[in-house]
Symmetry: C2
Subunit: 146 residues, 2 copies
């Protein structure tokens, strides 16, 4: 395998991640909905699971505790999510969508799905498998550093 100093993986990743986020931001603006891509990820998960602790949300989205804590702060402030401390274990919080949160998810679902479809245009299922394999390997490689 030849030298990789000419392989701009970090650049490709960052550039694409950035435009992906920007596109999601545009989508929410188009829908006239006051929400960020990161906030959407959390609400999307809550729509599936109904109730989650911040720890769970963090694990599933690979974000750390302070980040989740602040995203939830913002969602609570906007009234899309409720935060209640757990009954059995009061260290935990029980996070769930409010009614207006559920409405927001329903309102966005279609546009977000079509943006996801658009992102994979001109690409096949086989491409997805390849992409998945390669990017997972890159992730593992970085994980092994140090």
């Amino acid at each position: 395998m030849s030298a990789h100093s000419d392989k701009k993986i970090g650049f490709l990743l960052e550039r694409t991640t950035r435009i992906a986020k920007l596109s999601f931001t545009k989508a929410f603006k188009k829908l006239n909905v006051d929400i960020t891509p990161e906030q959407w990820i959390v609400m999307d998960k809550l729509d599936m699971k109904k109730e989650m602790s911040q720890k769970e949300i963090g694990n599933e989205s690979f974000k750390n505790a302070p980040t989740i804590s602040r995203i939830i702060d913002n969602l609570v402030r906007k009234g899309f999510v409720s935060r209640v401390s757990g009954e059995s274990d009061r260290r935990k919080t029980v996070i769930s969508l409010t009614l207006s949160g559920k409405e927001l998810v329903n309102q966005c679902r279609k546009e977000i799905d079509s943006l996801r479809d658009l992102s994979w245009k001109h690409l096949s299922d086989r491409d997805y498998a390849e992409f998945n394999r390669i990017i997972d390997q890159v992730f593992e490689n970085f994980e092994s550093y140090d």
Copy 2:
């Protein structure tokens, strides 16, 4: 091509971008060097090109003007970069590495190269071509939104 709502492209991208940045941060810590991944990108470019305006740096790294402005602020504060206003066009700034900036680049080069190599471990040149093709297409797809 089947439905893509199950394709977690954004997630894969974000997760990998994040760990890549983290690994670079680790590398700089290991080298005992006070610099962030974004700051490195700029210094790396300056090492090649010697002199650049902030506009040029922004174009090449796909970052916007305020972001570059602040990254340069930090690099100037640390003494790794100098910012002089242009002679022919005084709106522009001329950014270049200071001596200590050049030293820092030399000090880091080897470790960063080996981290780049590591990131592509168990992957081939062919994989790189595929990855590049796919992620470029995704970038274009997002670019076409709206």
